[in-house]
Assembly symmetry: C2
Homo-oligomer: 307 residues x 2
Amino acid sequence: MSLIVVGTMAFDAIETPFGKSDRIIGGAATYISWSASNFTRPIHQVSVVGGDFPESELNALQERGVQIDGVQIKKDEKSFFWSGRYHLDMNTRDTLDTQLNVLADFDPVLPESYKNAEFLMLGNLVPAVQLKVISQLQQKPKLTVMDTMNFWMDTALDDLKKVIQQVDVLMVNDSEARQLSGEYSLVKAARAIMNMGPTYLVIKKGEHGALLFHGNQVFFAPALPLEEVFDPTGAGDTFAGGFIGYIAQTKDISFDNMKNGIIVGSAMASFCVEKFGTERLKEISKADIDARIKEFVQLVNFDINLI
Amino acid sequence: MSLIVVGTMAFDAIETPFGKSDRIIGGAATYISWSASNFTRPIHQVSVVGGDFPESELNALQERGVQIDGVQIKKDEKSFFWSGRYHLDMNTRDTLDTQLNVLADFDPVLPESYKNAEFLMLGNLVPAVQLKVISQLQQKPKLTVMDTMNFWMDTALDDLKKVIQQVDVLMVNDSEARQLSGEYSLVKAARAIMNMGPTYLVIKKGEHGALLFHGNQVFFAPALPLEEVFDPTGAGDTFAGGFIGYIAQTKDISFDNMKNGIIVGSAMASFCVEKFGTERLKEISKADIDARIKEFVQLVNFDINLI
């Protein structure tokens, strides 16, 4: 039940209406693995960091069952850095600074031990790099999940479409679904995107929940109404991590089980936003997660008898 | 199981990205009663129209079990008129024209037969008029539900707060909940508003569903993902009508049954937006409604076993 997680490991500096962080640990693969490792181990990480990335962070991940053979450490270079400021609604943000650093010429090399993985999670990253990972696999995984964003639609659409063609589950947010499909209606957008390759599409709507589409079926998972969203950074990655972690744990890729995966992902994301960065993800226990999932069950539970 | 419905009966002229209507029948009480009469009859309507309001529309309502003894017909005056244009997202709109006409000096008089009603639905209307209706009742209804909007928060906040104090269930949309409470977080907004009087609060989020708050409990109902939202006018009123109609039918005002009411309201609203004005509401059958409610059950249904 091995899982490959591909994505950035990086530094972020974040401003929200509630405060401002120093340079803290971030990156899609970081959040995905902190989230997924609650459900499945080992995780085979594929990423690149500079000499400035703390060894303690790599050790902490290894203690969680995250293998880092596939993480390149370029001692004389700097890690990827992103800085952003969130607006009051926490659904929109401005990028203040992006320094690619080690990411600029990242050429992923899959260790032999990774090449027969059953599950592949392509976190948000340069599509060309995602393609290089796929091309090194010895067999098609049982399930390939891809998370991406509007930046690649603007700058690398051809490559992006090549990756999309090869994945089973695509995850984007609502505005990205509209951009990628050219359709305003999410139902029409979903149909158009599934015609590009993926048989499953997840549309993330932040505080408004998430939709899972498959053929003519649709499932809706709410977001938990929270007193405060402290820092949304990494919520999408954490969602993806909970989803693929649960799927890898249960080894069941049916639509019905994917619904559960979406709920687990939503529960994990609801923790992520409670504190800056990965802080909350590092604190929570299995009991916390189970209790949160039960809150989701309660949140949408109703029992109507048609009269 | 008598139900009083208070609100406007009016003409609307609507522009959406999909088209433009002539002067068509609208008004909160119109939509509420078309929706509620699928579940409970008789309905005691309280409203005011001018001599220009078609008798055929009043007859059609009466055939649905809507009694119009409480509807004042001012033959020499004109009905309330509203004209608006929706933006592409259908969640925002500009008011192009408002002509109060008969509404300007509306003084509701409750017929004797209305005064012991078990359920009271105060549709969106001048708060002072809503107060006058409450003051004429001989006994407190089993449940009083109030729908209102930002316009009254801007222009009649004192009166509005007096009504809010006396109702059991308040319905507003998300931006109105924020305006009324001064809180951005909907969880905090809900707590603040419930401190103003209502023990239940419904926050409507349009295409993003609706939340029901009661004490520390919360329930979330999704909106059905639709291929096209043709005209959102009256969706909130139709939602309210489905809710109160179902509650009046089942006579059960528990939190658990209100969840069902929210689902029924959401199902009714999903029909309303499929065509201009009340057109779709006039077409649908009980079988259509039951099938739609089953779609909602499917939409959020999942069965997770914590491992």
